[in-house]
Symmetry: D2
Subunit: 139 residues, 4 copies
């Protein structure tokens, strides 16, 4: 049996309950929601690092759209399960960010994922992360 | 047994299949999605009347946020059910719109709903529907 | 200006951040999500009262589908806003439950809502709440 | 500039409008919804091939959970955009299915994706696709 992967030490973790609306007729959490949870994980990651992502959008006009997303589903999650998500920055350049994710229920691995984002401005043009944000984001 | 209500003659109807992601662990469509379907119904209503709602937002800076929403759920919808939604304008003023909805699967009534919207500008201030749109919207 | 309504003393409250996926092109939380939040509030209410709603479904075959839902939207919520939802049981019979909701961001009222649920068994037939659950639910 | 990929001849296509609820604060369709659209594409694929997926679940107790999902986002989709999704079976074994997806708005490529599913029974145990379904699914 494969060993459950361990997130790196600089990972940020958050815990949450599976919502009823997130389940589907298989009585498990619908697979599309994992990407919503990953995003919630990135929000927690930013908060922990002192990055105000909302202000980054509204005040600086900087956005981080997803250009690639991947998830491997290992074991299902059910209604009201208390899940723990670990999120970490796998790679940061001045123009791109790659995050990794591990989702568990206690010691059971439920899923692992990865997203790749690019930085764009208000007009959707690729741009460069200001130094203060780059340091906080990737560190 | 109560008679199934009939939408008024000027109602616009659209048909769609229940998506798997819209079901929940009760194996029926989750109740929050009905409001998403109502919104999809308003889009069909606008299209039918020659109103380009997307352009109304992006070109004229006019928005129609929901200020009140109500739904009565009569019978559940299941995965892949082919549903028919009737949408009509119950009341139109220069600043507000009230829509009614009837959702059926063939002749079975599944739900009836109502939404109330106000017109606001880019800054969220209440404003007045231009005459060309008012006529198309409420007629 | 109307006074902000106050939830009753026996209300259960929970706090959460608005998710990015919950926003829409008006840059505010989409109105359908409020019903998902209300449901999350009922889950917190059950947890607080020692009711295991998941087990109620899977072990006792009892379900509480929504038969009526209403929301009045007062002020918009934005991405990452920290919201507080108060949930309370307005009325409990052996076969029905009516919950009330107040949603705030700090002292600002964002929305108030109400849902009406009936108790059904695995086959969707109306049934009666067992005394142990009835007491915990409505008390 | 890379040539837009072309779906294979046996692909099934469907068209749909982007719903308002599917947009987010970047004013584009939220990336998690693409997986919901892919699923809607698989439903269309099954329908076209004479497979009643709903009955497969409810009558035969066969389920096709996603074990891996991937999407590459090329260009954003906006509210009310009319999109065309092509879906095809890339690989079918008696126990697994791999689907490919291409999403376009007219001739513009918006995204390409892939999902990998395994067949399980009511108890979540891997099982084997009955011959009649295998032929229709992979052909």
């Amino acid at each position: 049996m494969p060993r459950t992967p361990t997130p790196p030490e600089n990972a940020v973790t958050l815990s949450f309950h599976v919502r009823y609306a997130e389940t589907d007729a298989m009585r498990v959490a619908h697979h599309a929601n994992y990407f919503v949870w990953f995003e919630m994980g990135r929000a927690a990651y930013c908060r922990e690092r002192g990055i105000d992502y909302a202000a980054m959008e509204t005040e600086r006009g900087l956005f981080l759209p997803i250009v690639e997303a991947h998830c491997r589903y290992v074991s299902p999650a059910r209604y009201d399960d208390l899940l723990t998500l670990a999120v970490w920055c796998k790679e940061a350049t001045r123009r791109t960010l790659r995050f990794g994710y591990l989702l568990k229920r206690e010691e059971t691995l439920l899923a692992e994922g990865e997203t790749y984002q690019i930085l764009v401005d208000n007009a959707g043009r690729p741009c460069t992360l200001p130094p203060d944000l780059a340091e906080k984001m990737g560190g």
